[in-house]
């Protein structure tokens, strides 16, 4: 393989992996800390993308436009949505078993998808990328790489860095890590677990929505976009080990590379390779690479 093409594919793989990490990290935290199987997590990705689509004209009209403003609005709104949903719905799931959680969040997906149909519609839409990011970068003599994809990678890396800082260097992060390894214990140490859950959930939703919003100019927005992402993210979480952020990061990268290079080297089997990877890993590590607790 030509080294430049190889480099481009590596960049693509990293970008895809980072995007998956944003979504999967929220999923794994919600799994690990709150003990909830949230099938509706893919819907938050979809909601983020549709928010970007719907907010763009509004932001242009009232706030003078700006892509970053739209992104920021998406993140804030989705965090509020997450906070509200935890209070209104998810907090009732803690005492229920996993099976009922699966079913109730399955019902929630149907509701979200249909609400999307009612509020927006069922069509595929493009989302404009800002002018300053729509160019491309020259690699070698003839190949180019779109700036926007680099931008996605950079944003994801920054967010990942922020998360790392939040989780390892702040008091909130300490509580979250403690919650992931022993929920009852931190509750008995006098930490308001309900508030902690609400914050974690809002964070997870905001991360997924950010991933959706930032991917929207590349992938465009379409019905059912959450489903594909959801399943892949579950694969990431299972490979990485439930509750482990580090595991999610490594697994997301693995999946990104396997999927990207799979599509070039074995285009016929591309869809299957990721699942084969998961099967192979579970064969040796039935609880994922970095099992917590």
């Amino acid at each position: 393989m030509d080294p430049i093409i190889f480099l481009i594919q590596c960049l693509n793989a990293v970008q895809y992996g980072l995007l998956l990490f944003l979504i999967a990290s929220g999923l794994t935290l919600i799994f690990g800390i709150m003990g909830i199987i949230n099938l509706a997590h893919g819907s938050f990705y979809m909601i983020g993308a549709y928010m970007a689509f719907a907010l763009q004209p509004l932001v242009a009209q009232y706030l003078g436009g700006g892509f970053m403003v739209t992104m920021l609005a998406c993140v804030l709104l989705s965090a509020v949505l997450g906070y509200f949903l935890e209070w209104a719905f998810y907090s009732y799931l803690y005492t229920r078993d996993h099976l009922q959680q699966v079913l109730m969040t399955y019902g929630l997906i149907l509701v979200f998808e249909e609400l999307r149909t009612i509020i927006i519609d069922n069509d595929v839409h493009g989302v404009d990328m800002p002018n300053w990011l729509s160019g491309s970068i020259k690699l070698g003599s003839i190949m180019t790489y779109p700036t926007y994809r680099l931008f996605i990678s950079v944003v994801c890396l920054v967010v990942a860095g922020l998360m790392y800082w939040l989780l390892t260097r702040t008091r909130l992060g300490m509580m979250i890590r403690a919650g992931a390894s022993n929920r009852e214990m931190i509750n008995s140490l006098g930490i308001d677990i309900n508030r902690l859950f609400r914050i974690v959930f809002a964070m997870g939703v905001a991360l997924a929505a950010l991933a959706g919003a930032i991917a929207a100019p590349v992938s465009s927005v379409y019905p059912g976009m959450g489903h594909t992402v959801l399943i892949i993210c579950f694969v990431v979480v299972v490979i990485g080990g439930i509750g482990s952020i580090r595991g999610a990061f490594i697994a997301a990268m693995l999946v990104g590379f396997v999927d990207t290079f799979g599509q070039i080297l074995f285009p016929q089997a591309a869809g299957v390779l990721v699942y084969l990877l998961m099967a192979a890993i579970l064969l040796f590590k039935p609880e994922g690479l970095f099992k917590q607790g």
């Binding site: 799994f31 199987i37 099938l39 009732y92 229920r96 996993h98 099976l99 009922q100 699966v102 079913l103 109730m104 399955y106 019902g107 929630l108 997906i109 149907l110 509701v111 998808e113 249909e114 609400l115 149909t117 009612i118 489903h227 399943i231 579950f234 694969v235 979480v237 299972v238 439930i242 016929q268 591309a270 869809g271 299957v272 699942y275 084969l276 998961m278 099967a279 579970l282 064969l283 039935p286 609880e287 994922g288």
Partner: protein, 331 residues
């Protein structure tokens, strides 16, 4: 006395269902057939979820694989031999279950849910992305297969009423078969695994073999349901393997009631009827287009209100009544 009453009621229901198409309500006949096929599908999953405690979110894979196998193996312009086609479909589904089961059963709990889901997605993408089965458009089964030995046609399914009775017979046979399985020593071992696998292993059972057998058998029966579905519609597409389908059948098992075979049947009846009601514009007017919304809300409400499923409802009511009457007496 009680059990003879039960047998009598079952017989009456059975005869009523068998004679139902003679009323000539074609739409409702098709609906009943759909319910019976889904009931068969759900009852096969009940063996895993309710009886063995293995929650699979990928059961649609076997449904779809068997449906595709039958459609792909059927000759294009003449009726295939259903003896051979049914056998092939079920065996291929069981084979896939055997291979993936060996891997999936190494995991437990949440991981098992996710791994079965992932294996089902794998099968989904094979049919969705490659040209094996017409890609995302699916393929048609032009001529309904028939049962024949040599040149002698034993049973011609082309007649809709014959096919209807055949589906009913499959459902009853599967039900009876699983009821027998659950009464056997093997079934008792499965129940033991559900209640406490650790203890079963300590008692000297090699639980892996039992779980794998249950997984393969349930998948074969799920495949049978898929075959009937393909023959009914004369059309298969990758959505038969989608995770929404797996979720729906899991929903039937849990909403109906876990652990009892007839719970799955009740769940299939309730869910298909609910879908039908919410899609009916005669009942709900303009909301019928947005039936996913009402259906989703109904699912959440039902799961919240009926933690033991529909078949647990009488018990739930009774216990509420007894607590209601007991509380004042205590004061």
């Amino acid at each position: 006395m009680q059990s003879s009453l039960k047998i009598l009621v079952s017989l009456v229901v059975l005869i009523a269902v068998a004679l139902f198409p003679l009323l000539g309500l074609d739409y409702y006949t098709a609906l009943v057939m759909k319910i019976m096929i889904y009931a068969l599908f759900a009852i096969s999953l009940q063996l895993l979820v309710g009886c063995t405690g293995l929650v699979s979110l990928g059961h649609a894979a076997f449904f779809g694989i068997a449906a595709y196998t039958v459609t792909l193996l059927s000759p294009q312009y003449e009726a295939g031999n259903f003896f051979w086609l049914m056998f092939a479909g079920v065996v291929i589904a069981m084979l896939y279950a055997f291979i993936t089961g060996i891997l999936a059963l190494r995991t437990k709990g949440v991981y098992f849910i996710m791994v079965t889901l992932a294996f089902a997605q794998m099968a989904y993408y094979v049919f969705h992305d490659t040209k094996v089965g017409g890609g995302s458009d699916g393929i048609y089964l032009y001529v309904r297969p028939e049962f024949r030995i040599g040149d002698w046609v034993v049973l011609n399914l082309d007649n809709d009423y014959v096919f209807y009775l055949f589906v009913l017979a499959c459902l009853i046979a599967t039900w009876a078969f699983l009821a027998m399985v659950m009464r056997s020593r093997f079934g008792a071992a499965l129940t033991g695994i559900r209640v406490n696998e650790q203890r079963m292993r300590a008692a000297g059972f090699s639980t892996f073999g039992y779980k794998l057998t249950a997984y393969v058998v349930a998948s074969g029966l799920g495949g049978l349901a898929g075959i009937l579905y393909a023959v009914k519609d004369g059309y298969v597409n990758p959505e038969l393997l989608s995770w929404e389908q797996s979720g729906l059948v899991l929903l039937m098992v849990i909403l109906g009631g876990m652990g009892r075979l007839w719970g799955a049947v009740v769940g299939a009846v309730v869910l298909i009827l609910l879908q039908e009601v919410f899609q009916s514009s005669a009942l709900l007017g303009d909301w019928a287009i947005h039936w996913h919304l009402t259906f989703g809300l109904a699912i959440m409400a039902l799961v919240a209100l009926l933690p033991k499923g529909v078949i647990g409802l009488p018990q739930q009511l009774r216990s509420r009544k007894s607590t209601n009457t007991a509380t004042p007496a205590a004061h």
